[in-house]
Symmetry: C2
Subunit: 317 residues, 2 copies
């Protein structure tokens, strides 16, 4: 059985793990990301954590068949360089693949976190055994990954999967990207919280009114939605927009499965119900009929297992 | 140089041709489709036309390396059966691949006309040399084909590429599919003509008023658009909707090229200008930057050359 080194450079945490071919995490280290240190120092720290994980797993570096890295920002796949990081400074054009390869002595694959998580779900999680999958992460932002024939499809410039910036609400709020009405602007965690705050400000009655406005999160709204009309309505609206974007992608890609991961996917039926209704309404029936639409299975370990899945693509035919 | 048999079963015409590997049509026959005859009889006639084309090309059946068929309706690719035809009765579940193979003695590939045309453009036309392409045909309906790594991507149930039923106008007209606001309902040829008729009925001044309403076509409107405000506005609106749907697909697929074929693509700048503007506005900049967005090059011969391209996929690695 092959074992690999899995690394995750995210906006809020760094993780390093030793993972087996079957998806078992033999050992791992997780630390909070320090946004004030430069890329080189982040990497130094991460490789230290990797060394500890290798030691704890009771294996030697020579036992590892490769390394995979999930990075929290766009990656130019052919060159193995990061483009930029959404959360950390100093990652513009950083040769991450080469740097990890040189420090670990291992053949290395890097990709952005959405593609890594998509491959993780396809290899170890909810899309296991499916040829064609669409993965969405719904969290602070909305990202996506496209799996075709069991592999990450990256497109012409390593930019495929950007479903978060699909126009779904022409008169909707302005997105973090500067455009108006993107899916991310109406269905991400912060967008759901903002919609609730705006409704409360107009004086709508809701159990949510007992939570301080500035601390209101999508998680609060999802929890309230089982018994509160306003909360249910707001989750329903976000779900409908997600469903509209997913339906368009389903029409185009006709995948076997759509997997929704990221923090907001923990909302469960109050989100998935409206998503499924919208997909049934807006996708072509022949593509919707046998489609599975499910929550991600890997949760917090999605990025690490995604990194492991990237590493395992090496040496495969 | 390989030569193949190319067959096209469309709603309005049947075509059979002998085509070389370089895309040269050595001989062809085209006839009007008779919608009153059953599938078997259509096929009989088509194979007769094929025999004439083979004779005229001065080749023997044994010189052909395979046959390809473009069919005007959905095809179940794994089984080689037609699902139904949008224009002709009696094609439900017809074993077209087997029937052509048995009658021609040639290894045969069949696909729907949009996929065939997409592969035709990728092999001989505007997407030549591109790894990843999105093809749209804008005509009586709007269909599409997705090319990944130079091959047709078909999805889980041979349904990929259905961009015509993307929701782009939530409050828009009802589509032929029964849903409201599909791209096809606002940007197909008949939809463009309907929008013009409706505007004229409200009394808007336009050069189009001189054309009998019931005979007004998208072609008339495209021709008038260079000098008539209403016509320009209607083409602009259709182009904007096309651009919105294309931008969503570009975000997801990050193709090298988008090719627009079909009758309406002949409108030229009055359509392509607004399409390009909308794509620039709604696609992520990294995917839009190096994207080529062009008209199809194969025109009327798209289906036949697409069928030839399908035939040529056989025996390739």
């Amino acid at each position: 059985m092959r074992i690999v080194l899995a690394l995750d450079i995210g906006g809020t945490k760094l993780a390093a793990g030793v993972v087996s071919e079957s998806g078992e995490v033999l050992a791992d280290r997780v630390e909070v990301t320090d946004a004030s240190v430069p890329a080189e120092a982040v990497l130094e720290k991460l490789m230290g954590m990797a060394g500890e994980a290798v030691g704890q797993a009771g294996v030697a570096w020579g036992d590892l068949s490769g390394a995979g890295v999930s990075f929290g920002g766009p990656v130019d796949f052919p060159s193995g360089r990061t483009v930029t990081c959404h959360h950390l400074a100093g990652w513009e054009g950083f040769p991450l693949r080469e740097a990890v390869r040189d420090r670990s002595g291992l053949p290395t694959v890097i990709d952005n976190d959405a593609n890594a998580a998509a491959l993780g779900e396809a290899t170890f999680g909810a899309a296991r055994g499916c040829a064609h999958a669409l993965y969405l992460t719904v969290s602070t932002g909305i990202g996506g990954g496209v799996i075709i024939d069991g592999r990450v499809y990256r497109g012409a410039a390593s930019m495929a999967g950007e479903i978060g910036h699909t126009l779904v609400a022409p008169d909707g709020p302005v997105c973090t990207c500067g455009k108006r009405g993107c899916l991310e602007a109406v269905a991400s965690g912060p967008s759901i919280a903002r919609a609730a705050r705006e409704a409360l400000e107009t004086g709508e009655a809701s159990a949510l009114a007992s939570i301080p406005r500035s601390r209101l999160t999508a998680k609060d709204i999802a929890e309230a939605a089982v018994r509160d009309t306003l909360a249910a309505c707001i989750m329903g609206q976000a779900g409908e927009f997600l469903g509209i974007a997913i339906a368009g992608a389903v029409n185009l890609l006709n995948p076997n499965v759509v997997v929704i991961g990221g923090g907001v996917s923990g909302a469960g039926d109050v989100l998935f119900g409206p998503v499924r209704e919208a997909v049934a309404r807006y996708a072509v029936p022949e593509s919707a009929r046998e489609l599975r639409l499910v929550a991600g299975e890997l949760g917090q370990r999605g990025a690490l297992l995604g990194a492991a899945a990237l590493a395992l693509t090496q040496g495969k035919a």
